[in-house]
Amino acid sequence: MLAFRSEAHVDRWRAQRCVPRGAILSLGQTWGLAEAWYANRLAPEWRRRTPDEAEAVFAGLGLTGEFWRLQ
């Protein structure tokens, strides 16, 4: 997952490397993922999410569709 100045920069970078378009997130959505995924990582009770739970986190941030499916 890489950062870019704008979507135009993503497109130029992709074109130079023949990388297909993946998913483009806002910085706010990326921070939301970071919080949801890692805020409790140091807790003794932490455990990996099930695919259903992970997809629910994605959906809560507006990340839906085939790209975000885990199963």
Binding site: A3, F4, R5, L25
Partner: protein, 148 residues
């Protein structure tokens, strides 16, 4: 009861990684937890199979204890508890989320190389221009966790 042991090993890896700026070796973990080296090694392998940590290929050296990276990356997070490398933008911000929710991620636009700083205060991202590109669909992330 490998689940309980694995969780103790997991917590030790993260605690030392944050305190020392590098992950502990198998021998260091074994000594700290008063277990055998092979017992610790097996726990490291199980944690990798469970996708909790990533080992450097062919070794028992921790490469990633997500969001932390043991090797330098273009994602440097500065927090109240020190500065660390994240594995990607998501993980770089994840380091800040994990270590108190205050800090800054220094990275750069992958296209033009312009520096980008993402600041977080009180678990809120400060307004900034930019987007993040995920190249690989979610179900394929673990096919090559170093390229997502």
């Amino acid at each position: 009861m490998s689940g309980e042991l694995d969780n103790r090993v997991r917590l030790h890896i993260y605690e030392r990684f944050v305190a020392d700026g590098r992950p502990p070796t198998v021998a260091e973990t074994a000594a700290a937890l008063a277990i055998g080296d092979e017992e610790a090694a097996e726990a490291y392998r199980r944690l990798e199979r469970a996708r909790v940590i990533v080992l450097a290929p062919g070794t028992l050296d921790v490469w990633m204890a997500n969001p932390l990276s043991a090797v330098p990356t273009p994602f440097r997070a500065t927090t109240e508890r020190g500065s660390f490398w994240g594995n990607c933008v998501w993980d770089g911000l994840g380091v800040i989320a994990m270590l108190g929710g205050r800090g800054a991620l220094a990275t750069a636009c992958s296209d033009c190389g312009d520096p980008m700083t993402l600041a977080v205060e009180e678990r809120t991202l400060a307004p900034a221009d930019g987007v993040v590109h995920f190249a690989v669909p979610a179900r394929r992330w673990w096919e090559n966790i170093a390229f997502t």
